[in-house]
């Protein structure tokens, strides 16, 4: 279920337990934390981000998995590409006035 701790990497610093907004983790004496409430995980990623040794990753339960769907467009082609590039640059707050 959602967070998976790599027990080889875990240093038992308890940071995941400390930050989890849903109090999903449980502590064990002399061993890495367990995920005591896996169904209360909302996949915020706080544990993954804050683990100092990157020992945690998220796994989606089967019924929440994203079914892949190939994209249609890919990198910009020649037609209208310049206009589209200008528009995209605008969206990125990079507007250079043409002289």
């Amino acid at each position: 279920m959602p967070p998976v701790i790599d027990e080889e990497l875990c240093t038992e610093c308890e940071k995941c337990y400390d930050v989890c907004p849903q109090d999903c983790f449980g502590l064990r004496e002399g061993a890495p934390p367990i995920v005591a409430y896996p169904r209360e995980c909302w996949h915020c990623g706080a544990c993954v981000i804050d683990c100092p040794v990157d020992a945690i990753h998220l796994e989606l339960p089967l019924h929440m998995q994203i079914v892949p769907s190939p994209a249609l467009f890919g990198p910009p082609g020649p037609e209208g590409a310049e206009d589209l590039r200008k528009a995209a640059a605008w969206s990125r707050s990079i507007i250079r006035e043409e002289g």
Binding site: C44, D50, L72, P75, A87
Partner: protein, 580 residues
């Protein structure tokens, strides 16, 4: 579990709810007063809507809006009329628009990156269109904003009472006297005796069944269970706008990827530079609209921004679905490498977005190679619904000394992140001033109900799991208060919730489960407020409120807020009008 131990705390200013609004309130209060306590049901470093980030803050940027010909008053008009339907607290919206940039600069002082070398805009800000008819939403490094803010809270000597859920208020002679909390890990009852209280517990959530079928997989954080509103209502405060909701399993869906990410936005009119909306036939139904000028949207002109875009585009997500061209996708595969990088960066700073990127990488997916299906979300009593206590222009509720900030407050439609930051700041200044007028902390009462509730649960060996009560509430709200709303349906909903309160015999094996039982108590309170308000508003009002028995809008009788409050055993409704 044994007897409930009671721990007492005393302070001048108490902030309950450590999200964006609560942290900003604690920061400002801490600068002015040295007896401030911040209560949070988890850890403020990763709590609330912005737990793992929020990538957008709207404000008034004079150096950009000026050349656009948009004044501060224009922005406020746009907000009140366009987003608020004319029924927003204008004084608060004005304050938010006026001071949001100051609070953004505070974030910069707290170590948050808000400027970018490649930006060609004044201030080197990255600004996009989001809510308003001008370019005024800041994109920034928001993923760890809560960490930076919590550090600022600590640096000001504020005591953080984390892992404590706020459950009731302490009141003395009709004036605030503090709050009651329960330790989610220590299992103790915490009485916070305080001269002034700021509530900032956000929006009420977990009322409706989720499309993915998991209670905690909501788009908005599942931790938000309307604790503040429930406590305030029980203490006699007046609450408005509970009848409004958005979302509601809309067939068009949104780019939240099964509730995994808070926002991310749809390609059109939002902030994915290489994105478009495509239907199942491979047709682009929502082209890029980042330059709102393409659709003639510059200054607010009496029609909603989104309405104008939809009209120009010629279709909407829901219309595509109804015509049989679904499912719908956000296709973000076009664009240069820089565009892809910008988009990944923006999404990684939005709540849950970093986790979405992390999860997609594991499946070998990215935005260059895969389109993202738009998924329906559960109904929300969200920023646009603006439900909560009625407040004046200074965040003061109807109980003296009690303030509400951010999404907690009612009537401040879609003030969102800048609302949280600015209202937190304002409420703090008000609370400190209020506290400064009294010598002693008032001796308040209000813990009896919570004590009774917890003691009954602790005395049980067996009974109903809290999750069953949660499911009962969601069955009730999803059936009686979603697609078909009417007086008879809402009344039946109230009957069902009354049955639940009378019949449930909750058990809790530990403080974690007791916390969920206390949340159930609060979710029921919010559900009842919602159903009563549904009955009271005898009209329909746009997409936020639609009744089959009163399908027409009735401005003559209902162009107002409907405030509800307890008077003894009864609930009284009164029409309220926003101050102009």
């Amino acid at each position: 579990m044994n007897e409930l131990e009671i721990v007492e705390h005393t302070c001048d200013v108490l902030v309950v709810g450590g999200g964006l609004a609560g942290c900003m309130a604690a920061i400002r209060a801490g600068e002015l007063n040295d007896r401030v306590i911040l209560v949070d049901k988890s850890n403020p470093e990763r709590s609330g809507c912005a737990a793992t980030g929020v990538d957008h803050i709207w404000a008034y940027f004079p150096e950009v809006q000026g050349p656009e010909g948009v004044s501060l008053e224009d922005l406020v008009d746009d907000h009140v009329n366009n987003l608020g339907g004319g029924l927003a607290n204008r004084a608060v919206v004005h304050y938010v628009a006026e001071t949001a940039l100051d609070r953004i600069l505070d974030l910069e002082r707290f170590g948050v990156k808000i400027r970018y070398e490649d930006s060609t805009l004044p201030g080197k800000f990255r600004l996009v269109y989001q809510l308003h008819a001008c370019r005024n939403t800041l994109h920034y490094d928001g993923r760890d904003v809560k960490r930076s803010m919590t550090k600022a809270v600590r640096e000001r000597g504020v005591e953080i009472a984390d892992r404590v859920i706020g459950i009731d208020l302490l009141v003395h002679d009709g004036q605030i006297a503090g709050a009651v909390g329960y330790g989610t890990r220590d299992g103790k009852l915490h009485l916070f005796r305080s001269k002034a209280v700021i509530l900032s517990t956000g929006r009420p959530n977990r009322l409706y069944k989720t499309p993915v079928g998991e209670v905690f997989s909501t788009r908005m954080p599942p931790a938000m269970t309307g604790d503040g509103k429930a406590a305030m209502f029980r203490a006699g405060a007046e609450i408005i706008n509970m009848e409004y909701s958005s979302g509601g399993y809309s067939p068009g869906g949104r780019n939240s990827s099964r509730g995994l990410v808070r926002g991310g936005g749809l390609p059109g009119g939002s902030y994915q530079p290489p994105g478009v909306g495509v239907n199942a036939l491979g047709e682009v139904y929502q082209p890029r609209a980042h330059e709102m000028g393409d659709y003639g949207v510059t200054k607010y002109e009496g029609i909603s921004t989104r309405g104008k875009v939809a009209k120009a585009v010629g279709t909407t997500a829901a219309a595509e679905m109804v015509a049989g061209r679904g499912p719908l996708y956000a296709d973000m595969s076009w664009g240069s490498d820089e565009d892809q990088e910008y988009m990944r960066w923006a999404i990684s700073n939005e709540g849950g977005g970093w986790a979405l990127n992390h999860i997609m990488a594991q499946y070998g997916m990215d935005y260059r190679t895969h389109k993202i299906e738009l998924s329906p979300t559960e109904p929300e009593h969200s920023g646009l619904s603006a439900c909560g206590p009625i407040v004046d222009g200074h965040c003061q509720t109807s109980i003296p000394g009690l303030y509400a900030a951010g999404d907690e407050a009612g009537g401040c439609s879609w003030t969102a992140v800048p609302g949280a930051l600015t209202m937190g700041y304002l409420a703090a200044e008000q609370a400190v001033e209020f506290a400064g007028k009294m010598e002693n902390v008032p001796e308040g009462k209000g813990e009896e109900r919570a004590l009774e509730f917890c003691s009954e649960i602790m005395a049980r060996e067996s009974g109903d799991p809290w999750l069953d009560a949660q499911a009962f509430i969601q069955n009730t709200m999803s059936h009686y208060n979603t697609n078909i709303k009417s007086e008879t349906m809402a009344k039946r909903g109230l009957e069902c919730l009354a049955y639940l309160k009378d019949t449930m015999r909750l058990v809790a094996a530990n403080p974690h489960e007791m916390t969920h039982c206390l949340e159930v108590r609060n979710i029921i309170e919010n559900g009842e407020m919602i159903l009563r308000a549904t009955i009271e508003r005898k009209e329909s009002r746009g997409f936020l409120f639609s009744r089959v028995d009163y399908p027409e809008r009735d401005d003559e009788n209902f162009f107002c807020w409907l405030g509800q409050r307890k008077e003894g055993d009864a609930v009284v409704f009164e029409k309220r009008f926003p101050q102009s």
